[in-house]
Symmetry: D2
Subunit: 360 residues, 4 copies
Amino acid sequence: MSGNTFGSLFRVTTFGESHGEMVGAVIDGCPAGLAIDLELIQNEMDRRRPGQSKITTQRNEADRVQVLSGLFEGKSTGAPITLAIRNQDQRSQDYDYIADAFRPSHADYTYEQKYGRRDHRGGGRSSARETAARVLAGGVAKCFLAAQGILVRAFVSQVGAIRMDSNFRKFDLNLTDENIVRCPDSGAAEKMISLIEKVQADGDTVGGVVTGVIMGCPAGLGEPVFDKFHADLGKAMLSINAVKGFEYGSGFSGVALRGSEHNDLFENVNGKIQTVTNHSGGVQGGITNGMPIEFRVAFKPVATHLKQQTSVNRQGESVEIKGRGRHDPCVVPRAVPIVEAMAAMTLMDHVLRNRSSKYE
Amino acid sequence: MSGNTFGSLFRVTTFGESHGEMVGAVIDGCPAGLAIDLELIQNEMDRRRPGQSKITTQRNEADRVQVLSGLFEGKSTGAPITLAIRNQDQRSQDYDYIADAFRPSHADYTYEQKYGRRDHRGGGRSSARETAARVLAGGVAKCFLAAQGILVRAFVSQVGAIRMDSNFRKFDLNLTDENIVRCPDSGAAEKMISLIEKVQADGDTVGGVVTGVIMGCPAGLGEPVFDKFHADLGKAMLSINAVKGFEYGSGFSGVALRGSEHNDLFENVNGKIQTVTNHSGGVQGGITNGMPIEFRVAFKPVATHLKQQTSVNRQGESVEIKGRGRHDPCVVPRAVPIVEAMAAMTLMDHVLRNRSSKYE
Amino acid sequence: MSGNTFGSLFRVTTFGESHGEMVGAVIDGCPAGLAIDLELIQNEMDRRRPGQSKITTQRNEADRVQVLSGLFEGKSTGAPITLAIRNQDQRSQDYDYIADAFRPSHADYTYEQKYGRRDHRGGGRSSARETAARVLAGGVAKCFLAAQGILVRAFVSQVGAIRMDSNFRKFDLNLTDENIVRCPDSGAAEKMISLIEKVQADGDTVGGVVTGVIMGCPAGLGEPVFDKFHADLGKAMLSINAVKGFEYGSGFSGVALRGSEHNDLFENVNGKIQTVTNHSGGVQGGITNGMPIEFRVAFKPVATHLKQQTSVNRQGESVEIKGRGRHDPCVVPRAVPIVEAMAAMTLMDHVLRNRSSKYE
Amino acid sequence: MSGNTFGSLFRVTTFGESHGEMVGAVIDGCPAGLAIDLELIQNEMDRRRPGQSKITTQRNEADRVQVLSGLFEGKSTGAPITLAIRNQDQRSQDYDYIADAFRPSHADYTYEQKYGRRDHRGGGRSSARETAARVLAGGVAKCFLAAQGILVRAFVSQVGAIRMDSNFRKFDLNLTDENIVRCPDSGAAEKMISLIEKVQADGDTVGGVVTGVIMGCPAGLGEPVFDKFHADLGKAMLSINAVKGFEYGSGFSGVALRGSEHNDLFENVNGKIQTVTNHSGGVQGGITNGMPIEFRVAFKPVATHLKQQTSVNRQGESVEIKGRGRHDPCVVPRAVPIVEAMAAMTLMDHVLRNRSSKYE
């Protein structure tokens, strides 16, 4: 149980480290006969790609999607689908300085403690490059969900202390990618971009929040005890590099409300049962209720910055470390497609799981 | 994959609904030869029990722990350990009014959508009584962890808008149970109790936050990709009834920091490598680093209050609902042992998983 | 992964040892709304029960089925169904002689090696009594399958060297329970009974073969690589106490045939595609083809006999052992319902798994 | 749960079909720090390779092992190890004749029933080429086991009706590969080869039996209920293409013995507890006892022969089919490394699982 597989029925196993041959995903459990839109998947990869704008890292990774198995005449066959990208533009020597030293707030020390060794080149398996495999698999899930009218959307709602308008419903989420920070509130987006540029000029980094919304999701998804829909979704998000928190619906702010304020009253609107408010964030008792699923994901400031830091090495000696290589000053713009990918995988898994909920 | 099992190697399967025969847990994967302290487990059950104080529900459930299998001469044998409590003091007729109607922000509607039916008595499987089984299993995990010097502690850090001092390290966590709200900051505790009493007098409910701390945990636990330690811990917490959010270390507030402020610098203190700050909350790259693991869990205000609410019934007709039965005005004091139980289960599972991390 | 759970979607976790409180099964993943026929399940328990005839062990275990969770108004609710029987008529002192010594060809020595200890009373978890939990769970699966017209039948086809007519198709399998050895070939049955009586008189035991047939199974069940239908079925059978071999279709005897003899030619009989012969035993490429599934399970002679044997004890000293207690001279008549139960569980699991095979 | 993953802690996920880009395995759960001998793995691949002798199919697949991820400086890192081979020498047009027709005793019909479609080229995922991925993963397991002195050996013990001497212990298993049929009894080997040549000349095929022996295995492996060692081993073997039966120890022939003959008496030989006989085949109560593990695997005659056969097509019409392409007249010589690979994977998985059996 080394944790490289995600999902129960829609099972995604990722492999590959930063400076190996390939990074990829074996996607098992995709029902046969699904049309796989490779252009859609390539487009998601391009959204995640480094170097796409002035505020993201300038590594140049072409990241062309390769199909290693599982497709026949453009459709899934029931066999595992393997998608991968080759590693390129690697500068392993950029990482020689950490072969022996532990970068603060990275996984260097903990890998060493766990495994007794580590592939230090580019962070090895702990590299953000591993998330490329998630986007590949999430793309397959998006094909599945889109065909059923389920839309998975994410956007940047906070960078540093700058927050977009809390009522995101008044913005058109289709415009998220219109600016490089991927915030649909264009006024806030400008401020966020300025902040990131300032932080970058300082050789520093800053955190942010990605908000996710799932629309068109049917009621009934999720398992009511340990595998509550929001518990699996939360785990999916928390498994993304640099994530520090997850909340859905009213989240941490709902704590201060009274039950009589917080409860979402049911109403029948033209034959459709829905709720007047959505503090539940689309999930009640761990099961989706047909309302939009809304959640927020906190990303810490990236650990690699260009300022000098003190640390220790494998021998326990004090060392000075100064970040090198090419890194993002703020991870959230590129995290948007990753959040969407993990949400799509979680959702598709629960759609399949729910096929066994009733006898008939 | 109906989600009634938690864990990979330390696997806990819970069963039972509010008004059935028993609620219990089959605890599989406990190594043989562990002394199981049934008094400790009974004590945890008593901490979770309704009716223990004036601010908790007055149902009288004796909740005596019964051993159905797996122990021999006071120790685990390698066979599954089954612990259970009998259901008693049930007033099924208290729930007749919801056989047909959907209570707002409960699982009534979503169960009906998922399963096409539901056992409405006492909420059935969605009842908070299900958490008793978690406390039973968590008790076994606590026996395992205690023998290795690992301490799992939780306490109430917020009720409604009242927060305890954010620096919890200055309080003695051994005093948590000294007051009925289970907050180690006695000043804040008094205010919290007053608030709960006021809310209760209003027939209303209020939310809260439980903070968890794990001390004495070795470095190296957690799997670095999907099963990051904090991802599994987060899922564990989010699977508890009424939880809306989870964060660890700096959490959502860390978002606003710069990387140069947020990074936890390593230092060698008398041969032990540790970090100067602990924004990482004891976990880096998904793997524990030997520092205290710190996390916060948001609980919404309980959905059952005594005020009149509008809703719909199975026929889609508008109905009026008024809470009956005996319920907690605020769930967090009784949630403390449940948070500890889930944390202990997660931790024990990862201790066992880590036994395969190295070849030698 | 202690292996007390069987199945992927229809997941059965068994618990309990010979001389504990209860033996039972938590049955997870049963779709909601299935009518559970408790009489059918009790009847299966009675077929497995010791003491049902002169050729089975004379222990008197009433084995009344108890429902601990998961049923509401006679139907499954989607929650885990827990069924159990209480342990009774235990004579723990019958087993004192093996607290220290290892019975030949039992699990005494291997448990001790694995766990460093064992509950020796009645064989503990290795007792054949564990199979009662399988019959409980198998009963639920039989309810599910029967509603879809799938019949699971098993019968004794060999005892010692006495085999029934190899063409079992000419016998009425509904008559299997008409004789105490459960062989539908009444001529062979008589000889088998005589043999068992003779062996019993000698204080000895003898092995046998149980043949299983599944009729009415749709094509398409089974997963084509590791979880081939017959691989999961084989594992299910091999997991039953005392089983030494499994074959399906032509099995070991098919080895000697040529491909041109062995191949099952397809034909279209009134719009239904079937095969002329059934050397495949109803499974091709690991997936059912709609023909009857046929398999054979070899049971060794029970290890407990009443003759004196040499062995060693925990100290490695030579000891003399003589079987005591009440045991079956031949296990196969009572194994028939167990074989059926495991086959039913395997089948139901694959019916549910197959719900995700196609996109539409 | 599409069944492309094998194992609990040592988890192998295979991917790839006959005429896709690659066939490979993601090997998860290999402890860090294990030296991986790529030459050993290549050698195993060469043993499985088609065209290695006159009695195997003449397809020319170079099958060079490629490392896609998980190794660093020749050792495992704890990250998933991905090994693959490229597909070459494909003649997809050789399979056009079965795009529409169902070959007897192949998986054509059942895939179509399960998935509603199939990749017919070279049998797609049902191709024997899938077993190459198993040999890759088995090679990693062999590296692990060899370092602990555990030897996994398999050999051909029967072809058609020709059996080698039943007492295989008098032959040197190191000589297995000395002849092309891989039978250590050179006299029997000659007859087997003659038989295969004759069958091949007839355009026909014939079945066989592979015997496996595991030496140096410690006592204590295997889980005592559903995941008995021999149950998992049996499933592993039954999951190999063309396998029809599995037995261990005395197997089907043990049925005819009396308990007093069949029991393996314990003895203390110079401080080592062992058994006088080994009818148990090294496994008692599902747990290894330290004696050699012995098992037999039945392979049916390959379904593809060159004689004319009748069948039906997708439209249900009668068709004539005549095998084309290059195929083995008898699969067992090439099955030897596959049997070893599956045994090694099963064993390594249980070695890791057993690390959690005891508390201390």
